[in-house]
Symmetry: D2
Subunit: 349 residues, 4 copies
Amino acid sequence: MILPKSNRLTAEQLAQVTGIVEEFGCRIQPIVGAVRTIYAIVGDERDELMINRLEGLDYVERIDRIQSPFKLMDKRSDLASHRIKLGGVTLGEELLVIAGACTIDPKNPSYFYETAVAVKEAGANALRGGVWKPRTNPYTFQGDVKSLDILMEASRRTGLPVDTEVMEESQIKLALDAGVATLQVGARNALNYSLLRQIGRAIAGRPTAVLLKRSIHMGPLSEFISAAEYIVAFGNPNVILCPRGTSPALDGYRNQPDESITPLLKEKTWAPVVVDPSHSVGKAAYVPAAALAAIAYGADGLCIEAHVEPAKGIGDDPKQALTPDALKKTITDAKALWALRHPEPAVAR
Amino acid sequence: MILPKSNRLTAEQLAQVTGIVEEFGCRIQPIVGAVRTIYAIVGDERDELMINRLEGLDYVERIDRIQSPFKLMDKRSDLASHRIKLGGVTLGEELLVIAGACTIDPKNPSYFYETAVAVKEAGANALRGGVWKPRTNPYTFQGDVKSLDILMEASRRTGLPVDTEVMEESQIKLALDAGVATLQVGARNALNYSLLRQIGRAIAGRPTAVLLKRSIHMGPLSEFISAAEYIVAFGNPNVILCPRGTSPALDGYRNQPDESITPLLKEKTWAPVVVDPSHSVGKAAYVPAAALAAIAYGADGLCIEAHVEPAKGIGDDPKQALTPDALKKTITDAKALWALRHPEPAVAR
Amino acid sequence: MILPKSNRLTAEQLAQVTGIVEEFGCRIQPIVGAVRTIYAIVGDERDELMINRLEGLDYVERIDRIQSPFKLMDKRSDLASHRIKLGGVTLGEELLVIAGACTIDPKNPSYFYETAVAVKEAGANALRGGVWKPRTNPYTFQGDVKSLDILMEASRRTGLPVDTEVMEESQIKLALDAGVATLQVGARNALNYSLLRQIGRAIAGRPTAVLLKRSIHMGPLSEFISAAEYIVAFGNPNVILCPRGTSPALDGYRNQPDESITPLLKEKTWAPVVVDPSHSVGKAAYVPAAALAAIAYGADGLCIEAHVEPAKGIGDDPKQALTPDALKKTITDAKALWALRHPEPAVAR
Amino acid sequence: MILPKSNRLTAEQLAQVTGIVEEFGCRIQPIVGAVRTIYAIVGDERDELMINRLEGLDYVERIDRIQSPFKLMDKRSDLASHRIKLGGVTLGEELLVIAGACTIDPKNPSYFYETAVAVKEAGANALRGGVWKPRTNPYTFQGDVKSLDILMEASRRTGLPVDTEVMEESQIKLALDAGVATLQVGARNALNYSLLRQIGRAIAGRPTAVLLKRSIHMGPLSEFISAAEYIVAFGNPNVILCPRGTSPALDGYRNQPDESITPLLKEKTWAPVVVDPSHSVGKAAYVPAAALAAIAYGADGLCIEAHVEPAKGIGDDPKQALTPDALKKTITDAKALWALRHPEPAVAR
């Protein structure tokens, strides 16, 4: 929809606009209003180059986009009936909980092994553990590949599928070869399209899922969904959207909680939403409330940091990991709220 | 500086806090106020793990950081006297202008050759041209390696050093081997620490510079400077900071202009600042004003998109590229304003 | 806490700083760190003029404030044990629900009378109804004093105490004379200190409460609490804090939901928090989820728009008012979640 | 323009939508696209109630507004040729500079008298001085009506017209009776529609102007322009728009500079734009750069805080007031840049 700066286009301007859209297989239909005439673009308006050319015209005030920019992630696409399964849970039918340490300590693997057992007992369906870590400060510990062995050993001991963040092509390969079930894209890489493409290519034809964190800064939802589209475009639609708080932080939290976008994501796309309350609020004391708020807003699952002894953890764990007891209570409450919001038995739907 | 929730720590709490900071080679000095006592951390407070442990304590309200997190980018570091030269210009002594097309069209190389000649005539000191492009929409043209040859041929024809964006390790190598003078890190990759490290390693020992765009979303300045620290940590300090507008956009612009951070960056770091007004406002008609505003705020240079025939360009050029005439006028005005702000002859300083 | 730009102040600078703080009855205590010395202000640091003078010094990088700026709203003040009662509910002990129409239609009073009865039956404890309305568009209906009679008649019919927004001194008087129990300060007036003072003066010595909406735009929490301090400073501490979403909006909502600030407000102040999910999301379909999220974050109550026949309402009601059935279900679910979060009987606390 | 959630409305939905818009004198025109049909509202779409009803429909995704919401402030209105004169300057033809103290100190009037003379000598065309002050902290000095006499005496001594902020109806009357030329609406009251209406009524039929500061928090431009529409609706069109920085602050500044909105305001409305760099950056050292940036973006004038001896000032002056020398240099540079941007003699335009 083209809105001119004046009340209507001159004949010459209309001819120029028509010429541009016809190059891209579209046509113009004027909508004559009482005062102002606007001009609909009939056809596939999604070509960025066409939009850029139109926006480059001096007499155009703005272009309102009508079509969804997503071919595959759109709720009206053929993928809408796709269901993702993880740790025995079909997302959307039952609450999924992914829990575990922010960062695996390669020098003290027993903490992670004990944490893995504890989160399973607390009711988690999948295990998270950080092997490689992106850090704002370049002089901070950035992770260690040895931790991958620890992660997989914990998976074997508990039977839980595992999730870990990857940041480079070499890490993708290592993680997949080791048997990681869910690759995590961190918030700082949510707009790293090279990485998204590498992951899309690497998981095509595999059962692997991707937990796509939302960018660390507040952007439009279309930006978040487009990042998912990058991955799904290669053929594997197992992408889970993960809001995790955005910048700038509320004073007192690590970030600004954003679980409230869940209903909006669910209106635009078919993808399941698993919220990470731990990074959102960034302090263990606030995590249980944020976890419940995510369920209140309709999230399909939670991704929570936990540690058998948070003060002994590395990375963010001393600050934001729940103890096993706190995790267990949070999962119990979350399930009670889930039941309140899903009164009908899932099989009946 | 530790601020407890209560007016002072109990003896037990103080012992716990002291125990933590001593593990990291620091000590606690209480500051007894009229009502409230606070607790200074004496020593190197920059270890994130120490901070995380302290923030994990229930009785701590917040930690105020006192030290600069930057070892090398800090204005008080040994690098403060380092000067970067590009295209015959020593940054800080004379206005630097980088100009050229957003995206090189590999099917129509003559547009880029003509643009290169035109930007040189307009007064630019370096040539920019996009070979590989990050795009929000996965189905949009993403660049073509053939354009690298076109870029280098334009460099040879004009004698201008060239700048291009790289997004993957393989592209870094190709660009350096071809002779690209300035690697550009795009706004979407400003927090991609893997890429920053790869670039830092690749340019160590070379004269290559990096034009580091600010993240597409508004984050604290420390985040931007930390990204530069990642690169410089490998030994080559030729990093130029490039504000280019942030999200969310002002209604009518592509982004929210952020040239006003220039004086703040210059207070914290020694690095030169080159502003990109083209991406900031996103429409050619607004670019000259934004370019002048950057100079008003003390920028050392400008990075501007230009094209001999914008409507024939690809990528963002139809929308935001200046014509050679508009570029020439913008450079002339910018130089006049630069002279107004730098009244003494540069040699005398 | 004064942080100089250099690693320490010169003797002359220290003398100047000391001179300034001594004028305000404070003294300076240097904190000598390994590299950098900082300077604590010992005494009452809350005088803005002292801070402004210090910030005006060229060699000062920044001032970190240590003391709470709130004398009365601070959680550590004598008012901390104050409890507010409304509609038979003691806030903090039982869930409070205020419900009713955005705008009373003076031409069709029966809608409001029916709505009043319906919200009482649905379980609400107090009745809201807009008499005067602030509107972004000056040509929109701005309210009618006749609606005040309708509001009070509805109160008599149902026995519910009533809440209405006031925007001018004359309206305060009219509302109090009529017997309005709770004056509402709208989001656009949250920083209108003249109005806050007029309200504070007018309610001193009365049992009247104030429902203070958070400003429509995202500001620091201290700004919100300071607005409450303005009212309480005149002697009546019945101020209820009401987050209602902030700008810029999430795409798809009316605002950006901010119920997540509830735990942060409760850390800083003793005041009860009643969240308004209706203005936060701005569409009836999203209100129930937002209401639950508020309870998840620990809100003491909810303020919800409802109408017997939303499409016949005026103001925002056609868009965001719940039907009586939807309101009843929302209150029932909110009470169930409240019970989950407050497992102990309230009497036992 | 109505965008349904599905690809087109059902017959029943279309009938309902048509029924609603016909109540408001509009009609629906469907625009049939290749995949999706959208529905234009033909007629005056500006009635908020109509929009609210449409947005309340479950099957409507969103409404794109086509018409400008401003009747009088719109650049296409009959007022577009109106010119405002102040202090001998016709806005738009010559640079206007308003300068003076943030807050008049009623105990030390000589500072203000000296400041008034100094700003006139520095080249200012009008004098600002704060009589009443809105303060975040309720315990800070809030102004004194005695300062109004000092302000007017300074006006008589210098011949400069004066500007002062008003916050209540009683202050409006006092200021107008005293002969204040320009009433200032402060940033915290930019959405206080009662005050805007009171001012509009009070200045109708007078030559008085209003300097309307932008809200302290970042809102859409339409919100700012609507505030002006409130005043102009009463008949006096002498409204000047004043960007002054918005929240959240950039770290190091008082606010986030927003002079860059100037070209956008000038596209939407005919009103002159006078930027306040003092509140934008909040520190004297940064003000000259911010003032130049405002001129770079096309501002018609500047509103700058100045004081003969800033450290002796009250209010914000110790932090942000320029000395007379710094003011003089800033005005000189601003005029030089103005000349650069307005190369043709003003009379010739």
